[in-house]
């Protein structure tokens, strides 16, 4: 209804758009809906926090968004001593925004402090694999891990941003959260929690950083909760960049002069999950593999993608995002075939179908489309639509037979961030498959690339064969911005404003 209102108003002859002021003074005005309470990357869990973190700070490594290769950032080079030990040689001559020199002390201090559970870093899995960091020279650090961690590089190139030890020791998370100091391409000059952030270019940003030399002088972020207001701001020229624009609005915006709309995939996929092992004790029909396969055959996922999800989304068949390392694509697939679904149901002893509760927490139209397809083969569903926290609670408690949920893998390009999260005897695991758990354990703990690939391949094939999940489709994001802006989105959903520039 609300989006309809704005679309209508937009359609009533809005000719020409106000010019965007950004290019004149080389500033960039952006709006999003996330409210950042603190800028300390270790104490916020918002995606916006990731975006901001990469402007203010640098990590030891950098993941090239095009090649997906790891490159040195604050480290000059790195090497594995053995499967649980890494050595880093650090870049010299780098300074923090406050003039503090960057050296091994900063790295050792940051990693050790964040790895200590006492300090309460919010996302413990980012740090709980670290045993300790050890200084071996003024620019040389050794990292000891608690266990082999194949995705250590993801952490070291992602959330593990390096803080200045002296400043952080003095001000702590509260001080850092309000007045951050890093080595990154932008420094924060003003911050009103939950409302706005102003960044200025770091003129001393070190040459040779794979992030490149930042171009835009000033970035002003404002939190605008309402989607329609964001669009109005963009049309009025008071904001140059917005994202997460709903598909229908994006289509309307795409025709406007002066505005670019770009659609990009994300790492998030939607899936149907079943209680395959009768964990709930309900003896649900979905305990039977034939019923799960019938459900997979009953749903026209391509039609849902085409009609509802839109953009660059694709149907996925394996229990992971195709861009992730180890995401085996050669798995059993279940084409849209309602007749086959009815056959399988009959074989399983449900020739007339059955009735089941169906839980979901987002994208209600998608859930309802799925229910329509299931209804067509005789499966009646009662939709139980809950808040994420509430549904997750029940999933953890082992109370859910059948649900539609999604997973974004924290944008990690690795199967361990999804398959191991859901099928390795975790609270999310409704399959309880010993062979699968063994394969995932091999994949998660080996540092041999081929061994990992083989283990994950076996695991993902087992998930598909047994239809523990019906993977649905990947999600996408619409970005809308001034057409004078040179901005390239990436599938990891982390917009890189340090490499954004005016044409």
């Amino acid at each position: 209804m609300r989006s309809l209102a704005l679309s209508l108003v937009m359609a009533i002859g809005l000719t020409g758009t106000a010019g965007h002021a950004g290019p004149d003074d080389n500033s960039l005005n952006i709006a999003w809906s996330g409210e950042l309470a603190t800028l300390d990357r270790y104490y916020n869990v918002l995606r916006e926090g990731i975006i901001v973190g990469r402007l203010i700070w640098d990590a030891l490594l950098f993941k090239n968004p095009d090649t997906l290769e790891f490159e040195p950032l604050l480290a000059e080079s790195y090497s594995f001593v053995d499967s649980t030990t890494m050595d880093f040689e650090l870049r010299q001559g780098v300074t923090f925004h406050n003039g503090e020199a960057f050296d091994a002390d900063d790295v050792v201090y940051t990693l050790n402090r964040m790895a200590d559970p006492e300090n309460g870093v919010l996302t413990q899995r980012n740090v709980n694999w670290i045993d300790r960091a050890e200084k071996r020279g003024p620019y040389s650090v050794r990292l000891h891990m608690k266990r082999p961690t194949p995705i250590a590089l993801e952490f070291l190139a992602g959330p593990l941003l390096i803080y200045p030890n002296e400043y952080y020791e003095e001000v702590g998370p509260d001080g850092m959260g309000q007045a951050p100091v890093g080595t990154g391409p932008y420094k924060v000059t003003a911050f009103a929690p939950g409302e706005s952030i102003t960044f200025e270019r770091n003129e001393n940003y070190f040459a040779g950083s794979p992030k490149g030399k930042p171009s835009i002088d000033v970035i002003r972020q404002r939190t605008v909760p309402d989607n329609n207001t964001q669009i109005a701001e963009l049309l009025a020229g008071t904001v140059d960049w917005i994202w997460k624009v709903p598909a229908d609005q994006a289509a309307a915006l795409a025709g406007r002069p002066g505005i670019s709309v770009v659609n990009e995939q994300t790492m998030r996929i939607g899936y149907l999950s079943f209680d395959s092992s009768n964990r709930t004790g309900n003896s649900s029909p979905v305990n039977d593999v034939r019923v799960r396969q019938a459900i997979a055959h009953a749903i026209d996922r391509q039609a849902i993608v085409t009609a509802l999800v839109g953009g660059s989304s694709e149907v996925v068949h394996s229990a992971c995002h195709p861009a992730q390392f180890g995401c085996e694509q050669d798995v059993a697939t279940y084409d849209y075939d309602p007749d086959r679904a009815r056959e399988l149901l009959a074989e399983a002893g449900y020739p007339d179908g059955f009735t089941i509760d169906f839980h979901a927490y987002r994208n209600r139209p998608y859930a309802e489309a799925i229910m329509g397809y299931l209804d067509a083969v005789g499966i009646k569903t009662n939709l139980v639509y809950l808040k994420y926290a509430a549904l997750r609670d029940q999933v953890y408690a082992g109370e859910i037979d059948f649900n539609f949920m999604t997973w974004g893998s924290y944008s990690f390009h690795d199967v361990s961030a999804i398959a191991s999260h859901f099928f390795k005897a975790t609270k999310d695991d409704y399959a309880g498959d010993e062979g699968l758990i063994a394969d995932l354990t091999i994949g998660d703990n080996s540092v041999d690339r081929d061994e990992r690939l083989a283990a994950y391949s076996r695991a993902l094939k087992a998930i598909a064969d047994n239809a523990y999940w019906v993977p649905l489709f990947s999600y996408n994001v619409n970005y809308a911005f001034s057409d004078q802006l040179e901005f390239v989105p990436n599938p990891d959903e982390v917009p890189r404003f340090y490499s954004t520039r005016w044409k």
Binding site: M1, R2, A5, L6, V9, M10, L14, A18, E35, A37, T38, Y43, V45, L46, P117, G120, L122, T123, Q124, R125, N128, P173, D174, G177, P193, G194, E195, R222, T223, V224, P225, D226, N228, T229, A232, E233, L235, A236, G237, T238, L386, K387, Y388, A389, A390, R392, D393, Y396, G408, S409, Y410, H421, T426, K427
Partner: protein, 305 residues
């Protein structure tokens, strides 16, 4: 009279307490706050850690008692989201909402009272119908729709005003119009009926008979009496506006207490939600109390019941 006031105040306090207890229970029933705080991608260990750190693992009644004891001393705890004391957050955001509420009420009164008087002076005329139409339109328009249309007209088509934000007084113009316009019909109708009643009374006829100027009769004699129900209604209306500004604050990115409450609910920032509910219900109860007392002062019959 004193006993009446004491009774009313006692009742008001009980209502505020009841509201806070009910909201405390309902918020807890809505889902595990630890999961919401940890975010969508958190592991079980992260969630368990947060549960213990914030004390969500203790019995509900203990949590409520502790909160109430703190609240009575003005300590609302620390926001689980902003990690700052809740009273600081509220001190920062409440003025925005109060400002919006006061401006909207003023706007509503300035628009509705002249309309109501005009309608009463010319009952059942075209002016009366027009006034009715204008004010009823205010209630009939969905306010989110009206808000968006105003943005498109006044910020996109003719860029006269900033589309959203709260840094200057210009930012408050559009939200004031939207929120105030919604309150117009009730005030207009009250003014109109009050004026009609008063204008028909004997003392007005006497005033007219004395040969006083019609404007003087209207403003000095009639309005004084007709306006009293409007005043007590407006106090209640102000309470509605504080509670009802959530959507408007969200659309105009005003960052007031309404939007803070809304966002805090979705991220299960219970201390903040609790404090806002208590403060808003205290304000609302207080305004109602004021309305009661004004009425009692005006009409002695109410005091004895």
């Amino acid at each position: 009279m004193h006993i009446f006031i004491l009774k009313r105040i006692g009742l008001a306090i009980l209502v505020a307490l009841f509201v806070s207890f009910l909201s405390f229970l309902m918020l807890r029933a809505a889902g595990d706050p630890a999961i919401a705080i940890a975010g969508e991608g958190a592991s079980e260990a992260d969630i368990e850690y947060i549960r213990i750190r914030f004390g969500f693992d203790r019995p509900l009644i203990v949590q409520y008692g502790e909160w109430l004891a703190g609240a009575l001393q003005g300590n609302f705890g620390t926001s689980t989201y902003f990690s700052t004391p809740v009273h600081e957050l509220i001190a920062e955001r409440l003025p925005v909402t109060l400002r919006l509420g006061a401006m909207s009420l003023l706007f509503a009164i300035l628009l509705a009272m002249p309309l109501g008087i005009l309608a009463a002076v010319h009952p059942n005329s075209i002016i009366d119908r027009l006034a009715l139409f204008l004010s009823v339109l205010g209630q009939a328009l969905p306010n989110f729709w009206f808000a968006l249309v105003l943005i498109v007209i006044l910020a996109v088509w003719w860029p006269l005003l900033p589309p959203s934000g709260n840094s200057t007084w210009q930012h408050f113009i559009m939200p004031t119009i939207v929120l105030g316009y919604y309150a117009t019909p009730a005030i207009m109708r009250l003014t109109r009926s009050g004026m009609l009643e008063v204008l028909g009374s004997d003392y007005i006829r006497t005033a007219r008979a004395k040969g006083l100027h019609p404007v003087q009769v209207l403003v000095k004699h009639a309005m004084r009496n007709a306006v009293l129900p409007v005043v007590s209604h407006s106090t209640v209306q102000f309470g509605y506006m504080l509670g009802g500004s959530v959507i408007i604050e969200s659309i105009y990115a005003l960052h007031g207490i309404g939007q803070l409450a809304w966002e805090s609910i979705s991220r299960a920032d219970l201390p903040t939600v609790q404090a806002i509910i208590l403060i808003l219900s205290l304000i609302y109860v207080g305004l109602n109390l004021a309305g009661d007392l004004i009425n009692a002062w005006l009409d002695p019959r109410i005091r004895v019941t």
